[in-house]
Symmetry: C2
Amino acid sequence: MPKLQKLKQQRPKQLKPKREKSEIRKDELIEATLECIACEGLQGATVRKVAEYAGVTNGLIRFHFGSKDEMIQVAYQRLLEGIFQSSLTAVADDKSPPRQRLRQFLKANLSPPIVTAKTVVLWANFLPLTYKDKQMAFIRRAANAKTTALFEDLIEAALSSERKIRSDKGFSEQEYRHLAVKLNSLIDGLWLEGSMAENSSYKKELVEIGLDAASDLMAMNLRE
Amino acid sequence: MPKLQKLKQQRPKQLKPKREKSEIRKDELIEATLECIACEGLQGATVRKVAEYAGVTNGLIRFHFGSKDEMIQVAYQRLLEGIFQSSLTAVADDKSPPRQRLRQFLKANLSPPIVTAKTVVLWANFLPLTYKDKQMAFIRRAANAKTTALFEDLIEAALSSERKIRSDKGFSEQEYRHLAVKLNSLIDGLWLEGSMAENSSYKKELVEIGLDAASDLMAMNLRE
DNA sequence: AATTTTATTATGCAGTTGCATAAATTTATG
DNA sequence: CATAAATTTATGCAACTGCATAATAAAATT
């Protein structure tokens, strides 16, 4: 290949970076960060690599974010927010009975897009940071609290709804909390374990097993 | 403090590295690796830092291990082995009834030394590597398979023991497997969530909640 | 159209990283 | 005790890292 051709090229330099509005570019960088971490791992997600994924040069990151650490933080928030939104849309239908809403919530947390290689890999890559960095710990805690609160509400609604029907004995506040912890742990554990199995047959089983276990814990049929 | 003293010191150079037998030194390096990762995170666990933790110079790592990656692998194996041993000693007593053995196993997996800040932090730091590195993935899978097998055995023994007493209906192979998945996920989830809470009151609750949930899942009293 | 503001690149630097290599030191062996 | 083998240090290097800084280019404003 003749080297002369290189001279003839009239600099297609900025194929993408045509100067986006700040917020849009920032968004692209956040997505590029997540994509990069998912593919290369956190160690591989250097400032230059992320910039490459976004199709820009590394200096731009410093312009839109104060530092790499800050960008990582924002990306982590984005990830957790996305997960939360996924389970939130699953229970968007307020008209359906409480038991069904809880069931949908559980199901969503055991299916794509939450149970996805990419999501789990990202989650795993960020996790260690929450043990070293206080701000990252805070982000995790905050997201967790939001999920837990939603979980407790769904559980309480489902239980009191069923109680009316079956005239069961009531539950204390602590029992609601414990129940939320149990279900939450179960979901997290299944999610984590399920991500390791490569065979897709496991994925349908995952929902089945999860709903089955949840039914036992809640003493309530959540299978259908 | 006078600087002269420095000259008077007759080179205490190798306070520690007096030439240990190869296996012992290797062991020290593995422990240093784990300690270093626990304190500094995987990112902070550089060859030099690990050597510093072990009280030797960095070159020594290359001598005992082919590369840093190899050392990390061995350290991961050591971690998982330690966890497995902890839960294994909990069920060492073969004479106790199957239900008690299962209970002890669950309890061990929800108490120190398995539920410890250090253990969880280490586990979390290694986890991302299992998604990038095939060998690390294999190590994780192997350890997981071992734990699962033990879990299944304990469950099956407990169930068939109780079945004799209560003349329950039998269980299929798949039901054993599913039960093991459920309990395993529950334990993992509780362990992970419990590690985030800093208040120690949660730790006693953790065992209580875990045994409570396991009792529901197994339809068998494991609380005492 | 001129100029100011905003976004982007280009370049480089100081610190770190894993690792190679040679020298030094300690232990084992004859 | 001499020599060889095993262990440990010392030194350095090439690649990489995050970030600063100045130069460009594009858009907005006037």
